[in-house]
Symmetry: C2
Subunit: 243 residues, 2 copies
DNA sequence: CGGCGGTTTGATGTGACTCAAAAAGAGTGG
DNA sequence: CCACTCTTTTTGAGTCACATCAAACCGCCG
């Protein structure tokens, strides 16, 4: 599977593209770029000209308060087109940064917009991507707004395991999650210290095991039960078929 | 301004539509419906066939935990097309309910999708709407994740005042916000009791005044300062112009 | 083997929760 | 216009989850 076809494969797994749309997509001028750990791909306030597709690695989108407090609003794994939104919105309202060495493929906004204008299937695919994004944000709002620390963490871990499995990156049970505890804390809206203690309590109850950056979900059902996790908000069934 | 043209006006305020697209939009079969206070327009898990446009009133989108805890993930005011997403996603992952007597206009998914397929400007407008939605969700995630109770409330009030002004519903200072304190609490992720006390503290400092359901923002700048509010995440400048 | 992020622990403070009940409105019918 | 009811707001008291600050520990890498 070459670089250029990974995102295409994702799009096509949901709804077939016409041969012409497919060809046009492959014609987009792309650029591969590599970033080290903890580098900003996009900074808050930037005007961007490209959307980025995650080839390998892991990135997060985040927002920062003047106080310095940071909130991570999403994680993205290989196969995700991050920040498709920036194609239509000029100013980045959030940053994007890496958590491990990461390779991305840049797609020019111009090209993506032209493609969307020319091929309705592609426009629909982009729209759907944005929809799923929004849905996950809603779930995160619920997560930080109405769950306890342990529940939030459990929910996040299940979501990541589920998404990685859907992307063919793991078996759904064991995953490499190269995110520091401080960053996990920023994602679930608690302090790093409390995150650490909550993690320990999950481990103590045998819910999860961790080896370095590897996390093993030991009791999926109990974790799903206690954190009220279901995958429906990620709409794994894909978009509604053509009208 | 008739019923059918309100949403159109919003779309066109951002980017012009071709006469044909305009006409096709006006040809959509719509239905006006009215709901009393605290009625579900959509229930979690529903399969919907229509998106709804808010004509008058106020609705929220919410998610519920098995424990009964509820999280309100967004409010919608007249002029908002709610749940455009449901056009592409079969199963509602959240509910929609009214907070006051509300009149909506229903647009059939079928028709919206056909329109989007036929007219790229419309597809782009829908996509942009979804983008803004997603952006507001991100801000809410930050809000409940990293701000104190007072800051969350201040931020929410400013957002609502700003959106109402943008929609031409008020002067940006004084607004009718028919949301009970219990519901506000569900929106900012705190308990109703604590919300009440935090509100009182905002009043005590002269930040806001309230008369029944009317809220007056007395010190916009201070509130914006303390809650780190800016309107950039709502992207009032509209979408990037045609590529 | 020293340096350095990252994790873990300890101690202490407080913002926010819960439960419970009173007070104040808002809507309804006589 | 008042009595009645239901909802919403407000108050009080006790408790707990989570925050903060600070220091120790650990694993990794050059």
């Amino acid at each position: 599977m070459t670089t250029e076809t990974l995102y295409l494969r994702k799009l096509e797994s949901r709804a077939p593209l016409s041969p012409r749309a497919r060809a046009a997509f492959l014609d987009l001028p792309t650029r591969e770029r590599t970033f080290e750990t903890y580098r900003d791909i996009v900074r808050e306030g930037d005007r961007t000209t490209h959307s980025c597709f995650i080839q390998t690695g892991l990135v997060s989108r985040y927002k920062t308060l003047r106080s310095g407090a940071r909130s991570i609003v999403s994680f993205h794994i290989p196969g995700d087109m991050v920040d498709l939104q920036s194609a239509l919105v000029l100013i980045a309202d959030h940053g994007i940064r890496t958590h491990v060495p990461t390779t991305i493929v840049e797609y020019p906004h111009e090209g993506l917009l032209q493609l969307a204008a020319a091929y309705p299937e592609i426009a629909r695919a982009f729209w759907f991507d944005t929809l799923i994004d929004a849905s996950i944000f809603r779930e995160w709002t619920l997560n930080v707004g109405r769950r306890t620390a342990r529940e939030r963490i459990a929910h996040l871990l299940l979501e990541m395991a589920f998404r990685m499995k859907a992307a063919g990156l793991n078996d759904g049970i064991t995953m490499v999650l190269p995110i520091s505890q401080a960053d996990l804390a920023d994602a679930v809206g608690i302090s790093a210290v409390h995150l650490n203690r909550s993690l320990q309590s999950l481990r103590a109850e045998g819910m999860i095991r961790t080896y370095g950056k590897t996390v093993v979900i030991e009791k999926w059902d109990e974790m799903a039960e206690m954190s009220d996790f279901t995958s429906v908000y990620m709409h794994p069934e894909g978009p509604r078929m053509a009208a």
